[in-house]
């Protein structure tokens, strides 16, 4: 495949000397791999910022009564925590970082279809982030509406909502352009011989994601612009005093924001598929079923937004239809889980850290998925609506699902991206700590919600004290494990090309090239003459 002797190796994308030097060699680079790292670093930065905010919230909830902040500060904190984690970390998620890095490599191309547009998307991402940050630190204080910006409160509050909403609009634009770029890349840039059904399954999941990004984001974009217009021009689209309908806002918001959950989770599922196939040392079970389930989730996920609004005022028929469609999403999701399990069956499993991370993902994601059914069914949802149960479910899916998959992918592709290997033992200990900490933090919230503790309050009744204390202690375990994981990755050591080019015995195209890859990935565009996960005859 590649010349193993280092004398023949081209300079990697990390070392490559181009027209620019220093920081400009990065922020002016149109290389998809450098852009991917720009995303990766910015996303991890925002993730850590969101983590700190989460820790402060948990600290406030350690005991009943006011601990470290009052109600207004708490409202602002959960809003900004949501904005940061959702819009700046997990919606770009695995697609912007690992998708950008891996799509061209896994389909045998030199770059994405529109490299300059790709860089422009990152600039829009940063611009959106800066606008939100300015909104937090200027005007009459950070927004206190929750990340959903529900009208009419978002029209009435004196806090600085306009900038946050506009920032989210700009971020949406960045997401649209990334999705557009990926769709065109996948259609036009596949290497000769790579038909659609020879693409790695991570690419399939990103393909589904890209369509959601493209087709759902504009709706929330225009909705956010209408909120801005309501506040600045006094139009009253969603203001009942001027004839507007706040429930209409909720519909428009969730038409995007429910599919956005699939923007977060689909690439995560794709990465988990890659990891499980590689470490099971078997070909994937049910390739087409997994590929199609990605598209099915993308499609059905578009039609279920109403399940966020069971108590907002909708007809009985609408509620039942939305509930039914919500249950339908469980089918393609379960197809994936069953196929992962079947792939492992009789496999020669190699127990490396990325595989453990994938196992943690499946376990946590299943709890998240099953509790989703409780929320998807109208009668039980009415009972737990707006309680900590929802918070727990959401974090099981988005942090325990997409977030853990993000770190799983990072551990899996780290040697490829940087040519370095982390300490595997510490990576495993970090995962165990994170797993314990995660469940200690969020599992009690299910019970709290069932007992009736509402979300979004800085204070609670004394009977909720024990479980909240447990949850806060869990958040400390979780945060320290995350720091351990990140420090371990930063301390990774350079390996020889023999060790790093294909450390896991992967079979997709990225493992046929050097680690880290050269600027154009392939010296010669490969011709694909085999199925994506066929075992190599060594």
């Amino acid at each position: 495949m590649t010349g193993n002797s280092s004398t023949h190796r081209l300079p990697s994308y990390l070392e490559y000397q181009g027209k620019y030097t220093g920081i400009r060699a990065w922020i002016l680079s149109t290389d998809h791999k450098r852009i991917a790292l720009l995303y990766l670093y910015s996303q991890i930065f925002f993730f850590l910022a969101g983590l700190v905010m989460g820790l402060f919230m948990k600290l406030e909830l350690i005991a009943p009564g006011q601990q470290i902040m009052g109600p207004q500060a708490y409202n602002a904190l959960f809003t900004v925590h949501g904005l940061t984690m959702i819009f700046l970390f997990i919606i770009p998620g695995l697609a912007a970082s690992f998708g950008n890095f891996m799509i061209p490599i896994m389909i045998g191309a030199k770059d994405v279809a529109f490299p300059k547009l790709n860089l422009f998307s990152w600039y829009l991402f940063i611009a959106g982030a800066v606008i939100i940050l300015v909104g937090i630190f200027s005007g009459d204080g950070p927004p206190d509406t929750g990340w959903t910006f529900y009208a009419p409160y978002s029209l009435k509050t004196n806090t600085n909502v306009v900038l946050s909403v506009f920032g989210a609009f700009v971020l949406g634009f960045s997401s649209i352009l990334t999705g557009l770029n990926f769709i065109v890349t996948i259609h036009r840039m596949r290497a000769p011989g790579m038909g659609f059904f020879r693409m790695p399954l991570f690419i399939w999941s990103l393909y589904g994601t890209a369509w959601i990004q493209l087709l759902a984001t504009p709706v929330v974009g225009i909705t956010f612009l209408m909120v801005v217009a309501d506040r600045m021009l006094d139009i009253g689209f969603f203001d009942p005093a001027k004839g507007g309908d706040p429930v209409l806002y909720q519909h428009l918001f969730w038409i995007y924001s429910h599919p956005a959950v699939y923007i977060m989770i689909l690439p995560a599922m794709g990465a988990i598929t890659e990891i499980i196939v590689t470490f099971s040392r078997r070909t994937v079970f049910g390739y087409k079923a997994i590929a199609m389930s990605s598209l099915a989730i993308a499609f059905v996920g578009y039609l279920v937004w109403g399940h966020h609004m069971f108590t907002s005022g909708m007809s009985e028929t609408a509620r039942l239809v939305f509930s039914f469609l919500t249950f339908l999403v469980a089918i393609p999701s379960a197809i994936k889980v069953f196929n992962w399990t079947a792939t492992m069956y009789k496999g020669s499993i190699s127990l490396e850290p990325p595989f453990w991370w994938a196992m943690a993902f499946i376990f946590i994601f299943m709890i998240g998925g099953l509790t989703g059914l409780i929320l998807g069914s109208v009668s039980t949802d009415v009972h737990v609506h707006d309680t900590m149960f929802v918070v727990a479910h959401f974090h099981y899916i988005v942090f325990g699902g997409a977030g853990i998959a993000f770190f799983a992918a990072l551990h899996y592709w780290y040697p490829k991206m940087f040519g370095k290997m982390y300490n595997k033992k510490i990576a495993n200990w970090g995962l165990i700590g994170l797993f314990v900490g995660f469940n200690t933090t969020y599992l009690p919230m299910f019970f709290l919600g069932f007992m009736g503790m509402p979300r979004r309050y800085y204070d609670y009744l004394p009977q909720f004290a024990d479980l909240n204390l447990l949850s806060t202690v869990g958040s400390w375990i979780m945060a320290s494990s995350l720091i351990l994981v990140i420090v371990n990755l930063l301390r990774a050591k350079k390996g020889t090309p023999e060790e790093m080019d294909d450390p896991w015995g992967g079979r997709t195209l990225e493992w046929t090239i050097e680690s880290p890859p050269s600027l154009e990935n392939f010296e010669e565009i490969p011709v694909i003459d085999r199925e994506p996960y066929e075992l190599k005859s060594k």
Binding site: G18, S29, F114, K116, L180, V184, V219, I222, F237, E520
Partner: protein
């Protein structure tokens, strides 16, 4: 970096750029789609007020603007054909005409809005706040949707302006026509959205 990698960034695939443009047009349609939903819901809720408010709009000026945009769509389509046939001069004349028509559209819009604002009809005005909720919503939607459309006219104008200069200096030519074609596609979209806005605000009674 680009210097050493001409093949890398200069990779040219007209099918890809057209595909990209069509996808972008989808997103624009969905952007306005959200507004069309809002319009339908509020029209359904306030049929009488929407009816009466619509009679305040000047059909003549709306009709003139519709005709202007239709002609501009024709001229941009002709400019693409002209460039395909290798007639650079005619391409530039037709593109210039398109731009001129777009400017006339904006000037008309300016006077139309100006007259409304002169009569104290604009979002948040005391007069409008004294009217019914349906009136407020109608004029809110009118200003927001035609305003957003006008922004798209300006964006299209900028895009065609870039195409104009690239045709002039030869970097967009018979064999590399994508930018002009995409500019034309975008312009048709802007035109098409107006074709929906015109009846929704001016004609339905």
């Amino acid at each position: 970096m680009e210097q050493n990698h001409v093949a890398h960034t200069d990779h040219f695939d007209p099918v890809a750029s057209k595909l990209g443009m069509w996808l972008f047009i989808f997103t624009e349609i969905l952007l306005f789609g959200g507004l069309f939903i809002v319009y339908s819901v509020y029209r359904y809720k306030h049929p009488v007020e929407f009816h009466l408010a619509a009679e305040e709009l000047d059909v003549t000026i709306g009709l003139i603007n519709t005709v202007i945009l239709l002609i501009s769509s024709m001229t941009v389509a002709m400019s693409i054909t002209a460039l395909q046939l290798g007639n650079k001069k005619l391409t530039l004349i037709l593109l210039g005409t398109t731009g001129l028509l777009a400017l006339i559209f904006l000037v008309n819009k300016y006077f139309e809005w100006g007259a409304k604002i002169h009569h104290d009809i604009y979002p948040g005005s005391e007069f409008l706040l004294s009217l019914s909720k349906g009136d407020m919503l109608f004029f809110g939607l009118y200003f927001f949707m035609t305003g957003l459309h006008a922004l798209h006219i300006i964006a299209g104008l900028a895009l065609l302006g870039v195409a104009f200069f690239k045709v002039k200096n030869g970097s967009v030519n018979k064999d590399r026509i994508s930018l002009l074609e995409n500019g034309g596609l975008y312009w048709h979209l802007v035109d098409l959205i107006w074709i929906f806005l015109f009846p929704l605000f001016y004609l339905i009674h």
